[in-house]
């Protein structure tokens, strides 16, 4: 807490500047995250969307400084959180940040819980470590947390082992654990991907309710554009380690400007679609992160691409009149063609 310096603005909680993370593997250097910058305000709800390999999880692990090294390395950038650059903190100070200030919930609740300890023990562990509680206090608090996340008979369930919980209940227990020290930021990395849709709806409702109640910021990482549509305020769209578009949720879905976002939305079937609609698929495959093209990484799959796209990576540009940025040489053209058709 002694390292308070600069950059502390009143309502920005997390400010990432030019973050780059690479993995040095036998096959070559994997460019997982390639210089991303954005800010998240206190109590904000951010959706990070993209397909596998777009760098969405690696960027979250970089914030937590949980990138396995070797082979991984955070190569550049600053991660300002609550007035400190996390990348400059000592490992000891980072220990305090993890869990107590930034908590993370992972995709697979079975592998992130330890099968040989009771659920209660695992929740109490963080409370004793970060908050200095004794056994009785920690147990009391752990029981409260389980009932907060909607597990009935929570005090009895503290003595259950993870295998006695269903998938949805395990994810609730993980959320209880993440909330145990009142973090300012909760990073949820594909928390509902392994769950069924009715259970997903339960978990989404839970997180939205807890966010309103506790006032923490939430970053929801997912490949499912549907989940984010209903809950996030801001959305980052990632592709090949870049943020290609960022804006308010209604602008991203209603008036997407990047051809990738347009393509992604077109390739999703909608439950409320009229009969006979055909999905518009994006041709080709995402680029190899070991051998990224010089220009825009999406150019090879993009129907709007021109020579310029193959030559240089476009910078993020602001869309006038909207809190909306896009990295595309031709976004104005995309906007005209795409939104012209709709009307």
């Amino acid at each position: 807490m002694s390292e308070h310096q600069g950059n502390r603005s009143s309502n920005i909680l997390l400010d990432i500047k030019n973050l780059a993370t690479r993995f040095y593997t036998e096959d070559g250097v994997v460019n997982a995250v390639n210089g991303i910058s954005y800010a998240l305000e206190e109590g904000g709800m951010l959706g990070v969307v993209g397909e596998s390999g777009c760098g969405k999880s690696v960027h979250a692990l970089s914030i937590m400084r949980l990138i396995p090294s070797p082979p991984g390395r955070i190569e550049a950038g600053e991660i300002w959180f609550d007035g400190r650059d996390l990348l400059k903190l000592s490992e000891g100070a980072m220990h305090h940040v993890r869990g107590a200030e930034i908590a993370m919930v992972f995709q697979d609740p079975m592998t992130s819980l330890n099968p040989v300890y009771t659920v209660g023990f695992q929740i109490m562990e963080a409370l004793k470590l970060h908050q200095g509680m004794d056994d009785a206090q920690a147990r009391e608090r752990a029981g409260e947390l389980l009932s907060l996340v909607g597990i009935p008979e929570s005090f009895q369930r503290l003595d259950d082992y993870p295998h006695q919980f269903s998938g949805g209940m395990r994810q609730r227990a993980m959320i209880a654990m993440a909330l145990s020290c009142n973090p300012q930021l909760l990073i949820a990395d594909e928390p509902t991907t392994a769950l069924d849709v009715t259970i997903q709806a339960q978990i989404v409702e839970l997180v939205v309710r807890l966010q309103e109640k506790l006032g923490m910021a939430v970053m929801w990482i997912t490949h499912d554009l549907g989940v984010v549509a209903g809950m996030a305020r801001k959305v980052n769209v990632m592709y090949a380690g870049y943020i290609v578009e960022r804006g308010n949720v209604k602008d991203i879905y209603g008036r997407p400007r990047h051809p990738y976002t347009v393509g992604l939305l077109g390739s999703l079937p909608r439950l409320d679609a009229a009969p006979g609609t055909r999905l518009i698929s994006i041709p080709g495959l995402p680029p190899d992160l070991i051998d990224l093209p010089t220009g825009c990484p999406f150019a090879a799959r993009c129907v709007y691409a021109v020579d310029q796209c193959l030559e240089a990576m476009p910078q993020l540009e602001e869309v006038e009149g909207e809190d909306h940025i896009v990295a595309c040489w031709r976004w104005k053209h995309v906007a005209e063609t795409h939104h012209g058709e709709e009307r």
């Binding site: 709806a201 554009l225 549509a229 209903g230 209603g254 994006i282």
Partner: protein
């Protein structure tokens, strides 16, 4: 329209129980997992019937049991007028030419030691349909049909991406010109942009070759997109079966209603206005299904009879089947 319907597959009272045993040496039969518990449906020729349900609802078991990859515990399956249950050995194998399967995991369903060409040619060899040059040409044609380069025949599966592998699986399924293709979660392991490629391919192949699909998946939006009719499964039973539009506009079963409302729509303006029915708790174990209606433990509208008597799966209006005590034929508009 009703007059032209030709029924390709007729499934009646199909059951598949997996025994639960206890004891290391002397295995005692202590119970059953009722993976599929009395389902009946028809598949019309040329249509896509979607089978949707959550994990453990028995949808995959239905698909596998229909091909007799699992031996059904009880029930009748008729395929193109032939009773599948009475077939044995060679007869069954010959029948299987007409029904093929596409599997979920394109990494596990292709033998890594075989070239793509020999994977696709295997059904041709097993059924001794073609040999030599003819076989090689057929393989190349199939690769072209699924949108892959015919020269890929000499490569191995690891050289391909998930979407391309799924195309290889599709080519293999088409090798014998089947009538019915059972697609078991064919896209759930693929990325969104690749899913659309594969679904469009499946639609093109259907119109090109007049295929009939049973499309099994948990993604309700995708099943509704590709299907003509849809069946919703819960805990081994079909809860509701009807036309794709009818089920969206007029879902009758409380489970279907909850399932529909839980599916997110990728549009913030729509999401703002939607009402979610949040179900309590989890699906019970198929080893101990509830007495009465299987959904009664989570149903927001359950009444006394629901936990006592099992509702019958009946046609409540033309082409709309439902198993619920609250839905009676005379009350449906």
């Amino acid at each position: 329209m009703a007059a032209e319907i030709e029924v390709l597959v007729q499934v009646r009272h199909l059951k598949k129980y997996f025994p639960v045993t206890r004891g290391a040496i002397i295995q005692r039969h202590v119970g059953d997992i009722k993976a599929v518990d009395d389902v009946s449906f028809d598949i019309h020729k040329g249509e896509t019937l979607g089978l949707v349900g959550e994990t453990g609802s028995g949808k995959t078991t239905v698909g596998r049991t229909m091909l007799r990859l699992y031996e059904p515990t009880e029930g009748e399956i008729s395929f193109g007028g032939t009773d599948l249950m009475s077939l044995k050995g060679g007869e069954l194998r010959r029948m299987r030419r007409r029904m093929q399967m596409i599997f979920q995991d394109p990494y596990a369903s292709l033998n890594p030691r075989m070239t793509v060409g020999s994977i696709i040619a295997e059904p041709l060899e097993v059924h001794d349909v073609s040999r030599g040059k003819e076989k090689r040409e057929r393989v190349q044609e199939l690769l072209r049909v699924v949108g892959l380069n015919p020269y890929f025949a000499n490569r191995y599966p690891h050289e391909f991406s998930g979407g391309q592998r799924q195309r290889i699986g599709i080519a293999r399924a088409l090798a014998l010109n089947p009538d019915l293709v059972i697609c078991d979660e064919p896209i759930s392991s693929l990325d969104v942009s690749i899913q659309a490629q594969v679904v469009n391919l499946l639609e093109d192949l259907q119109s090109q070759f007049g295929l009939t699909y049973l499309f099994i998946a948990h993604d309700l939006s995708m099943v509704r997109h590709i299907s003509d009719r849809m069946a919703v499964m819960y805990l081994g039973k079909i809860m509701e079966l009807t036309d794709r539009d009818e089920i969206y506009l007029n879902p009758l079963h409380p489970y279907t209603q909850a399932l529909m409302s839980a599916v997110p729509v990728p549009d913030p303006l729509v999401e703002e206005k939607r009402q979610r029915i949040i179900l309590e708790g989890d699906m019970p174990s198929p080893a101990h299904p509830p007495v009465g209606c299987n959904f009664s433990t989570r149903c927001p509208r359950a009444i006394d009879i629901c936990s006592e008597v099992e509702p019958e799966f009946i046609e409540v209006k033309e082409g709309h089947f439902c198993a619920c005590h609250l839905v009676k034929p005379d009350q449906v508009a």
